[in-house]
């Protein structure tokens, strides 16, 4: 395993006492995700921390250079497995940006709704896992139960519970089911109710609050300089939300607020997530109301979208189309583009380089929690060991995304 490459001498200079090394991870009970933190302690206090990631590096970017543009979707899915739909949509938007196409309105609303549902899951799991690691197991069970409600919808729509691979360039894999709106309308209130119940258990809990409030404070300027985005940045008081700052799809027609923290500590991060869940619920409501009930889901361009399967088996034109897209891949104009969306943890960026062929030349993912995790070191320096757990939890590091 990787040795701690800070020499002890300078540690000795700073401290009369012998500092103690503590190794958290890569598989630590009190920390989800696979990260290893090498701590240098004096007693309970953390003098130095070396955060080492990469234990879940799966070569995402390398694999993308080996298939067609559409074969990237399964990989994006597994980058952020807590809210795969957001990554799906993000990547689809990036490729569509290069192709210069926009999907039909119905599809945009569909994407928004599914995306926000995924955001619900993301925030719930983050909060849930965090309080589980703080010993509050019951709220986690509530949140997990609430997530099941949403996953039922995903399963109904996409056929998969977790990794949907449902996004497509120029549309979605299939149109919404007949009962889509009813299902969502029925599920969301139940989810919110469960969340409220969970909150009741947490927000009056002295221990919980003490471990959150005033712990892991990140100032506005540092958060910016560190490249933080999303909830963690907003909790530090910067109202930056891609959905507001650079509205994509139909977010500009949605009326929702961006919760902003004041202190930038764990508590703010936690509360921002809780509030965003409610905002997402609002967005879903409006989106469902505005979403047209019929109309095409995919753009009408044989060079991009797959033909209907039954045509493929019966007509030569569809067969040719299918062949072209599957065997050669859809051709993306040569060039480079950076597309960014608001994912669960913040700005999810895709920097794509195409050489005009059916295969990506380079797919660069800019994972939001990569930036936030590198802030962990600063957050826990000088803190106590127990503070590592809630701080790390509140950053919501997703292994697959952070380690690519």
């Amino acid at each position: 395993m990787e040795p701690l490459d800070r020499d002890l001498e300078e540690g000795l200079l700073e401290l009369p006492s012998e500092p103690m090394m503590l190794n958290m991870g890569p598989s630590h009970p009190a920390m989800h995700g696979t990260v290893r933190i090498v701590l240098e302690l004096s007693g309970e206090q953390i003098l130095k921390a070396d955060v080492q990631i990469g234990y879940l590096h799966r070569g995402f970017e390398k694999m993308c250079e080996r298939g067609t543009w559409s074969q990237v979707f399964p990989y994006v899915d597994r980058c952020n497995y807590v809210s795969p739909m957001l990554n799906n949509v993000g990547y689809a938007l990036a490729v569509e940006k290069m192709l210069g196409v926009t999907v039909p309105e119905r599809c945009q609303y569909y994407r928004v709704v599914l995306g926000e549902l995924a955001r619900l899951c993301d925030h719930m799991i983050c909060s849930g896992a965090m309080c589980m690691e703080l010993g509050a197991f019951t709220p986690f069970l509530y949140y997990a139960r609430a997530r099941e409600n949403i996953w039922d919808i995903f399963e109904e729509e996409t056929g998969a519970r977790v990794t949907h691979s449902f996004g497509r360039v120029g549309g979605m894999a299939s149109p919404p089911t007949k009962y889509f709106k009813d299902m969502v309308r029925a599920a969301v209130p139940r989810v919110i109710a469960l969340i409220v119940e969970g909150e009741k258990m947490l927000l009056k809990n002295r221990i919980f609050l003490d471990r959150l409030e005033g712990v892991g404070v990140m100032s506005k300027e540092d958060a910016l300089a560190l490249g933080w985005t999303g909830v963690v940045l907003r909790a530090s008081g910067v109202p930056y939300d891609v959905r507001k700052a650079h509205p994509y799809m139909v977010y500009d027609r949605m009326d929702f607020d961006v919760p902003v923290g004041t202190a930038g500590d764990n508590y703010d991060r936690f509360m921002c997530r809780q509030e965003e869940i409610r905002q997402s619920a609002r967005i879903i409501e409006q989106a469902l109301a505005q979403m047209p009930d019929d109309g095409p889901i995919n753009i009408d361009d044989p060079r991009v979208v797959m033909p209907p399967k039954n045509d493929v088996y019966t007509t030569i034109e569809a067969t040719i189309q299918h062949f072209k897209i599957v065997m050669e891949g859809l051709k993306v104009p040569a060039g480079e583009c950076y597309s960014y969306t608001e994912a669960g943890n913040g700005e999810l960026g895709f920097y794509l380089v195409s050489d005009g062929s059916g295969t990506p030349f380079r797919v660069r993912i800019r994972p939001p929690c990569f930036a936030s995790t590198q802030g962990l070191e600063q957050l826990i320096k000088g803190a106590m060991i127990p503070d590592v757990v809630p701080t790390f939890g509140s950053l919501n590091m997703i292994g697959g995304e952070c380690d690519h």
């Binding site: 990787e2 490459d5 990631i53 990469g54 590096h57 070569g59 970017e61 390398k62 694999m63 250079e65 080996r66 298939g67 067609t68 940006k97 290069m98 210069g100 540092d222 910016l224 300089a225 560190l226 490249g227 933080w228 910067v238 930056y240 700052a245 650079h246 065997m327 050669e328 891949g329 060039g335 480079e336 583009c337 950076y338 960014y340 700005e347 960026g349 920097y351 380089v353 050489d355 062929s357 059916g358 295969t359 030349f361 380079r362 660069r364 800019r366 990569f370 930036a371 995790t373 590198q374 380690d403 690519h404």
Partner: protein
């Protein structure tokens, strides 16, 4: 909307801004790697640019397509003005040697891990980086996986594998991801005879 930034850069740094283009709505400036740090600092401090949000640093390997071989790509955003710009610098020669560029950690400390990752994956050395070591791969790893000439399925195990008698590997030599579409075969100059 950030074409303005390109103009500012142009008039401030003259022909050290090698080329600029705006494609798919992104504005890009390819700059002289020697003045990388200087330009970065300017972009952050100049009130008209105010690029105080660091977004991303990565590299791209154009083996056999252009020299210098690597492109270091940086994305920046301004919180106040809400505009973005992409900064690129070309470094490194054919065999991947002396790919070096200044580190911008002193400008945005967020660049720290991003530069470490770029170093880890491409072997681009960032001068003046506080601690430049591998981030995602383990120290024992030899080579730079995201370079085009690193075979995607070449593993370097840390623990020796058990040999289970009669157990087949999950992928045979001709199976798995190496499924042979005309991907970027850095040895061939032309895309095969497929054109005929």
């Amino acid at each position: 909307m950030s074409k303005r930034v390109l103009e500012i850069l142009g008039e401030r740094f003259g022909h050290d801004v090698l080329e600029t283009h705006s494609q798919f709505g992104d504005d890009t400036a390819v700059v002289n790697p020697a003045r990388w740090l200087e330009i970065a600092t300017f972009l952050r401090d100049d009130s008209r640019c105010a690029m105080n949000m660091f977004v991303d640093i990565t590299a791209v390997d154009y083996l056999g397509r252009q020299t210098p071989r690597f492109e270091v790509v940086m994305h920046l955003r301004s919180l106040e003005r809400g505009h973005r710009v992409r900064l690129k610098a070309r470094v490194g020669d054919e065999d991947g040697q002396n790919a070096e560029i200044d580190s911008v950690v002193s400008v945005w400390k967020g660049a720290n891990w991003f530069e470490r990752e770029a170093f880890d994956m491409f072997g681009v050395v960032f001068r003046g980086h506080p601690d430049l070591r591998r981030l995602l791969m383990y120290p024992e790893f030899v080579g730079y996986p995201l370079r085009k000439d690193y075979p995607a399925d070449k593993i370097q195990p840390l623990v020796e594998f058990r040999n289970v008698p009669g157990k087949l590997p999950p992928f045979g030599p001709d199976e798995g991801m190496s499924f042979g579409r005309q991907t970027h075969d850095y040895r061939r100059d032309e895309p095969g005879g497929e054109a005929n």
